[in-house]
Symmetry: C2
Subunit: 197 residues, 2 copies
């Protein structure tokens, strides 16, 4: 019966919601998505099998919250290298390197973040974080590359180009689809084509 004076709002067992998310993330990154179950999360936290339902209406809701957490962390990965950098090209490169680093550090979470049938992609909280990430890429894709169209069209194409490239690279890299001998000391900057006219 030792008094634990840590969390402000303790009802019965603590703030279960965050504990479940943490356990889910641990299980996801340790044993992969197919070995993740609500019951295991509940076990890991020490509550009954149905306790999670008080905080997540479904398993998909928990995975969606996990994915949202992932996007938030992806944002900090990108910001880390950007903050304190003034040069425009250096900022763009830092964002790209941060993006790839996140995917490599958390491959299972990254895969979840793009799995349409496990995550409800219309969740507003999720969309908020997705848009925040995209905004960083969008900011740093200006004046990059030569594309046709009016200013608006060009900006959209620059953004789609950079996001496609960095996302495809990250996923193919974590899925081991690139030949090993091509990857020695390689980074995404090496496949960023020289676009200066």
């Amino acid at each position: 019966m030792k008094a634990e004076s840590k969390e402000p709002t303790r009802y019965h067992h603590g703030n279960l919601r965050q504990a479940l998310l943490a356990a889910a993330r641990r299980l996801l990154e340790a044993e992969g998505h197919s070995n993740l179950s609500l019951r295991k999360c509940a076990d890991a936290v020490g509550v009954s099998a149905t306790a999670p339902q008080n905080h997540f209406p479904s398993k998909a809701a928990l995975l969606t919250a996990l994915a949202a957490e992932g996007y938030a962390e992806l944002e900090t990965y990108m910001r880390k290298g950007i903050d304190g950098t003034a040069d425009r090209n250096a900022r763009r490169n830092a964002a790209l390197l941060g993006y790839v680093a996140f995917a490599q550090d958390h491959p299972a979470l990254y895969e979840l973040m793009f799995a349409r049938d496990r995550v409800s992609s219309s969740d507003p909280e999720l969309l908020r974080h997705v848009r925040a990430c995209f905004a960083i890429l969008a900011e740093n894709s200006k004046d990059f590359g030569r594309f046709d169209g009016d200013a608006e069209k060009v900006a959209a194409r620059q953004q789609m180009f950079l996001w496609s490239l960095v996302h495809g690279y990250s996923q193919l890299l974590t899925a081991n689809r690139f030949k090993k001998e091509s990857m020695l000391g390689e980074s995404i900057l090496d496949i960023l084509p020289d676009l200066r006219s």
Copy 2:
């Protein structure tokens, strides 16, 4: 008891393996991955729940075979536009358009093809088809873009660049991650930067 003289090897019910794959694919594209089960496939074909085990040692094995089928079809999508085209740039563009078309026509299957924890990515049959697809992209990425390094390095970077771009574009497109207003009449060729020096 009509005599069906079609398949060479008929034992009890027909060639169940292919029938199961067809049913699995139908279920996958109709109801999504999370609603696909071996039992439903078996039901759809009209056999008992454990019959699939004679042809696939596990569910992952069936999904892997399905993914391999997907890569084979991706290859034909890419080849369709290439065959009969002589110009080098036109061939490359046709391969890219075919790639994206496949992902749009079969989004659930395309997602499965890159889902590391549902498919055993070391399966030799799967790898054969993956490599066949990559080979087409590799052939058509020559003399594209300006990259640093010796000839071998440049070739590897051209290939990684094109594959990253087309895969990222396909997945972000099917995941609806691009802004709708940017996508009106857009194609992947519009975000292929002008790389001529």
